[in-house]
Subunit: 319 residues, 2 copies
DNA sequence: TTGAAAGCGGTACCAA
DNA sequence: TTGGTACCGCTTTCAA
């Protein structure tokens, strides 16, 4: 049986209130009584029950985090960074994964009273967030979840178009004539790709789209033949995993990178730095995103539902 | 303000007990009253406060998980798998990272009443687990944490020696004469390496040790010159990241793998499958470990402190 | 069938 | 300086 304030009060012949005062370091208890209480608490090995405290105070140090079922290395890194930052502020992440609407609801239900804020690191665009989350009293923060139409929660958007434009522009400047976009339909990346062509001489450079089922290593590997027969001299992959899969194919078929074909990835996965050859990639602004999240959690404290948009811009990095 | 049982009771002119009965699907409430309560609960959007329920029932669906500050891709994969398995059982992981003893204590204190079981996916061997955890009423499970001397908690050990022995034996059979161990001092891996030499003709094959500061990509890359000058024809790296770093060096210096030098890694990181050439690696028995954890959590339910050892054996996989 | 009431373990108001 | 006590919201016993 756990040691409670009541037990300590009984053992020391005082009241719950006095014990509570002493153990919380508040004033208003005589020196003798104080010493006795401290002594007994130590002997019994008192550890406060945070669940009870949280219930009473209607607050907690726990933050819900919803992650996609499958995460890229960069996402995992972002998550680890967020976890560290939360801990630095005395908070802890309670994890759940993005599932079907009904399961999602069930999950949020299981969290009521435990977490007051839930951060979505991913969202299924087919689900209407507003109607799903309606009725819950938690606060929600959507981080880089694409086009969420939502009037009640905080939405952090990452504008990757600048980074993509920069990457494509660089390819163009280095004299590439035909550039392929390879991946599946991710609106923000496609529009970044397109707007890059508008900026850079659109008439001089050709663009083609090569679509894949998934965005993993194998998909990049499998898309390689099509890429090669399409006679492009540069490819922009929407994930680093795709790009790495392609690099493996290139290695096997003695295709020279970047002499024969230039490659740019997206995500800045760590393994990319050690691929052969090193992958050039558009980075995620991890620190900026997480700083923003912590700022929201800490300063606004989210005592009331509020609505806001935050946009973070990213940059192109080459390794 | 949240909707509570009391509010519904007031709004429907009944008692908390009846509302509770209805919403928990228990019998013993008249049809009319039942319908009214359901109606009002729906209108008000009732969501039970799990924190209060947990306090009352002295239980919870939350499981603490302590992870190392820096995780390998394989560890992250194991964690994601564990999270999915927990969710399948209706449980959720509360995450924390392995820190200094004082911070660790503080963390566990913040979790009292919230989680009843904490899983350590890593441990600092310099800390005495028994004295640190003494006084807490949580249950602890140590997973693959090396040599933990502990008489009160559940310890899951992964025996990698078999896998390592197998890998080294295979190198020996393929005619390698001098095999290097590269990495820092990880007792179980070193002893696996050593015992492999005892099994396989120790007089015929030479072994050398090349130590690194860390076990990351860069360390493998930096260790490469020493490895090459030591004139070995095979290297066993204690992490895949080390091995991948070496592969990059080999690529740059036109060293042929495995013609010039054979390479085996450890961890079975995914990127290894797409390195050039593909990395041969000793796998982590992810499923087996996590199955065991879930089994412990579910079947034993950890209602009483118990003490046990579980050992899982791994195998060598080559890709 | 119904509901009053006693908890779970802290917190903090208020009166002594 | 003390300590009694109501309360956070839910569960469950027990009596009506």
């Amino acid at each position: 049986m756990a040691v409670t304030l009541k037990k300590i009060a009984e053992a020391s012949g005082t009241s719950v209130r006095s014990v509570n005062r002493v153990l919380k370091g508040q004033s208003g208890v005589g020196a003798e009584k104080r010493a006795a209480i401290v002594q007994i608490a130590k002997e019994l090995g008192y550890v406060p029950n945070i669940a009870a405290r949280n219930l009473r105070l209607r607050q907690s140090n726990f933050v819900g985090i919803i992650v996609p079922l499958k995460q890229s290395e960069a996402q995992q890194r972002r998550l680890a960074d967020l976890q560290a930052r939360l801990e630095a502020e005395g908070m802890f992440p309670l994890m759940g994964s993005l599932r079907e609407p009904e399961q999602l609801k069930q999950m949020l239900r299981e969290w009521t009273g435990i977490v007051s804020t839930v951060i979505f690191c991913a969202w299924d665009s087919r689900i209407d967030s507003e109607s799903l989350l309606n009725g819950f009293s938690q606060h929600y923060i959507f981080v880089d979840c694409g086009n969420i139409s939502n009037q009640r929660d905080i939405i952090i958007t990452v504008d990757r178009q600048a980074g993509i434009r920069q990457g494509v522009a660089q390819l163009a400047q280095s004299g590439r004539q035909r550039i392929a976009y390879c991946g599946y339909n991710m609106p923000d990346r496609i529009s970044g790709f397109n707007s890059a062509f508008e900026e850079v001489s659109p008439d001089k450079i050709g663009k083609i789209f090569i679509t894949t089922e998934q965005i993993d290593f194998a998909d990049g590997y499998n898309a390689a033949p099509e890429i090669m027969t399409s006679r492009v001299d540069a490819v922009f992959f929407i994930t680093d995993r795709l790009a790495l899969g392609f690099l493996k194919y290139a290695y096997e078929h003695k295709i020279r990178i970047p002499e024969d074909i230039a490659v740019i990835g997206f995500d800045d996965d760590q393994p990319g730095h050690y691929s052969c050859p090193a992958l050039s990639s558009v980075a995620h602004p991890i620190s900026e995103i997480n700083e923003k999240i912590i700022e929201i959690l800490v300063t606004k404290n989210l005592t009331t539902k509020e609505f806001s948009y935050e946009t973070i811009y990213n940059q192109r990095e080459s390794s």
